[in-house]
């Protein structure tokens, strides 16, 4: 994060000075030029001319049931919860689609020499929707609230030492760390890390707390819908819509039907097939994000038969990646190369693309004494394309003499109970910085290490990479770490699937966002053209 570490206040157009400048070319594939200017995703879609003010946008998105739904941005984990949170509150920094960071409420983040203390400078002139100014006290309160053991907050700030964290005037917070950290920005850009007003306790339909975002809460009915109205005091440009109604429909088919029958102007989280069918609808547009989410299987490197590296390589050669992208994701995606994080800073794009080579896979299996390998793959209808990718993989692997038996398991607990617990499973993570992802999955002490990858030397190098304050050294270390995983790791990462959204043709200013990033389901720049 060089632009964060040099201490320049990087407002305005920033560019990652990484060797992965090719990323900027990639965004063009999405058909939407994304500026990394602060807070401006480029509008897309047919309505042209200047944005028209007014109107109520109705958006449908997957949510939770009425009994389980929460409004608190520090707890709301569902897609709908995320959409509401980002339109009402702000983070200090947020993810761009390529996982670089944009400054939001923070004007700069500066570490000391070893990353044990970070200085957060707040943007001046920001006010909450009730008119009170944003100060360092609000930030301290939000951190305390996320760290409060009595609350079921999911914000992950465990590395912050609150006892030694202090405000330094109205617009500066000095954060002390339990352990040094080189990339505090990625932590602050996390899903739950919103800044709420000092003193905010409960956030529900009776309190409707204030935020600094483009909209303010007007009403909330759990499990059903949230109505937002324009925040005229918003600090980052003018919001066009009068109101936004975020309607929750959990079922993909019903959600699409709501959009098709005119009950909504925007629909999120379509299936790939629905998006493909919608391409031919002249009254709607499909919005494809510039980057995809991992589509992958994982092998436990510590369990037979995958404890032999030749078997793992054979499995990776037995998947036809292009066929996966074309038939499972209907073309909405790119082929993967068995390592996580395409498009993210420090992603190793210099490794050769692994091909589909069943013949070579056969030879490797014979050499390993595992010819005619038989493995079981538990699968479930948990995410779009899961079952389809498992079925197709089983078909493709036959050419290498591998028999993959599919076993159906319950979808609602697949990712908490099955994945990583059996030798071969699906794995699905949204996009995070490599720092965060490998911290969660790659080391001997990671909580979600689903490949059983435990190598002290790799862990040590990873710790060095995380703490390296010099970006070139960091990149070098990260490239080596990924190369080792590409050679010997447990991921069969076949695709990066781009999750499409869709909108009616009278909706302007929609941003093409990767799920989980700041542009996704963000209506700050959205407007409605008069219906012709």
């Amino acid at each position: 994060m060089d632009n964060l570490t040099t201490g320049r206040s990087g407002i305005g157009r920033r560019r990652m000075l990484t060797g992965t400048a090719g990323l900027l070319g990639l965004t063009a594939l999405g058909g939407v030029p994304i500026l990394t200017a602060c807070g401006t995703g480029a509008p897309s879609g047919p309505p042209t001319g200047p944005p028209q003010p007014g109107g109520r946008l109705r958006s449908v998105i997957a949510g939770r049931s009425a009994i389980a739904d929460v409004l608190d941005p520090h707890e709301a984990g569902s897609s709908a919860g995320g959409a509401v949170s980002k339109n009402v509150w702000d983070r200090l920094v947020a993810y761009n689609n390529d996982l670089t960071l944009r400054y939001r409420l923070a004007r700069s983040l500066e570490p000391n020499a070893d990353g044990s203390v970070w200085r957060i400078q707040l943007r001046p002139g920001v006010v909450f929707s009730d008119g009170s100014p944003l100060t360092s006290r609000d930030v301290l309160w939000s951190f305390e609230r996320m760290l409060d053991p009595a609350r079921s907050s999911s914000g992950d700030l465990a590395m912050v030492d609150m006892a030694r964290t202090k405000a330094d005037g109205d617009l500066t917070v000095v954060v002390a760390m339990q352990t040094p950290i080189a990339d505090f920005g990625s932590v602050l850009a996390g899903w739950y890390c919103y800044i709420v007003k000092n003193g905010t306790a409960t956030i529900d339909e009776r309190t409707l707390s204030v935020g600094t975002g483009p909209f303010a809460l007007a009403s909330w009915s759990p499990g059903d819908r949230t109505v937002l109205r324009r925040n005229d005091r918003y600090w980052d440009g003018r919001t066009h819509l009068d109101e936004v109604e975020i309607i929750q429909i959990a079922e993909t088919e019903a959600r699409m039907n709501a959009f098709l029958s005119g009950e909504a102007d925007v629909v999120h989280e379509l299936s790939y097939l629905q998006a493909r069918n919608l391409e031919s609808d002249p009254t709607a547009m499909v919005i494809v994000p510039p980057e995809g989410l991992m589509g992958a299987f994982q092998m436990r490197v510590d369990l037979p038969p995958f404890d032999d590296v030749r078997v793992r390589q054979a499995m990776r050669l037995a998947v036809d990646r292009q066929a996966m992208v074309d038939s499972v994701y209907y073309g909405y995606g790119e082929v993967g190369n068995d390592i996580y994080g395409k498009g993210a800073p420090f992603y190793n794009d210099t490794l050769p693309q692994r091909p589909y080579d069943p013949q070579r896979a056969r030879e490797l299996l014979r050499a390993a004494g595992k010819a005619n390998l038989e493995v079981t793959l538990p699968t479930a209808d948990g995410m779009p394309g899961m079952v389809e990718s498992a079925t197709l993989f089983a078909e493709q692997a036959k050419a290498a003499g591998i028999t993959i038996r599919l076993e159906s398991t319950p979808a609602d607990t697949y990712f908490s109970q099955v994945t990583g617990k059996r030798p071969l499973t699906h794995i699905g993570w949204w996009n995070y910085s490599l720092d965060y992802f490998y911290g969660q999955t790659g080391t001997g002490s990671s909580p979600s290490n689903g490949t059983g990858w435990r190598r002290p030397a790799w862990d040590a190098k990873f710790a060095a990479a995380r703490a390296a304050m010099d970006p070139d050294r960091r990149r070098g270390l990260y490239f080596e770490l990924q190369e080792e995983l590409w050679q010997e790791g447990g991921y069969i990462l076949h695709s990066f699937a781009k999750r499409p959204d869709a909108a009616r043709n009278n909706v302007g200013g929609m941003r093409a966002g990767v799920p989980g990033t700041d542009d996704w389901a963000n209506y700050a720049t959205t407007w409605l053209a008069a219906r012709g």
Binding site: R64, S65, A66, I67, A68, D69, V70, G77, S78, S79, P149, S152, S154, W191, S221, P222, G223, D224, R225, I247, I249, A250, E251, E253, A254, R255, N257, A258, L260, S261, G262, E263, L293, M383, P410, D412, T413, F415, S416, Q417, G420, G428, W429, W430, Q440, T441, S446, P447, S448, P515, G516
Partner: protein, 324 residues
Amino acid sequence: MLRYFLRRAAAGAGVLIIVTVLVFGLFELLDSDAAVVILTRQGAGDPSPEQLAALRAELGLDRPAPIRFAEWVSGFLRGDLGKSLISGRPVDDVLFDRLANSAALAVLTIVLLIPLALGLGLLAGSRAGSRTDRVISVAALALEAVPSFVLGVLLVAVIALSLRLLPAVSLIPAGTSVWDRPQVLVLPVACLLLGLSPHPARMVRAQTAGVMASEYIRTARLNGVGGIRLILRHAAPNAVSASVHPLAGSVVGLVGGIAVVETLFSYPGVSKELLIAISARDYPFVQSAAVLLAAFGIGIHVLADMFALMVSPRARAVVGEGRW
């Protein structure tokens, strides 16, 4: 008669107790709990064991199952349905709202189902072998063979999406009643009727056809009783009593049918809520909703038994003689 009713009611209560224990037991066998659900987010990692332990302690999930069960039962008997484990919201805040929505669907369906099934069955059975009979019988058999969600998908595709006559999803903004937007009920009710009416209609038809071929109807005809009067006075009572149990079965089948329809149309009823609550491992809600739904099913069957007794002289005689 009263003794018989009380015995049936007591048996029903016994079944309900068994169901309650079963639901809780099955729930305990599930492979995760609310703590896991709360701490797991789509596209992210697993919670750490320490986090899980802390949250389980906070939610009281670390206590033995019998204690938790006893707590729920004592609360339920006092009318306190408990709080959601996920959000802390009181269960009755949501449950009764949702039950009212489901009841609207159920009542409307029953009100239309009974005359529809009886009418079609009598019409077909009174003219066994005629063209009317053949059309009704074949249609009923065909509909019975198609799962109701397939019918629902077809209805949505044709009526809502192609013809744009009715909403494709039955959204009811919170704070408004389903009766403010009655059009959202049309497709769900139609879907339920198509799924539930064929079976009782065919039973009524078979019974009516049997009665019409009997000696006593022929005698009535010879005595100059004819047409509508013959059917309503002489054939229908027998047919109706024979159809009480299939109809009661259909009404109980409503519970399952409504679950499908609510999911399909995203209708905010209790079944949809229950399905999501199960996947969220929110046992206070699941227990309360499941027990209330079971009570409804058992209650309908007891009532159907009583009604069948009232319309069937022979059964009354059997019960009266104390052979039950």
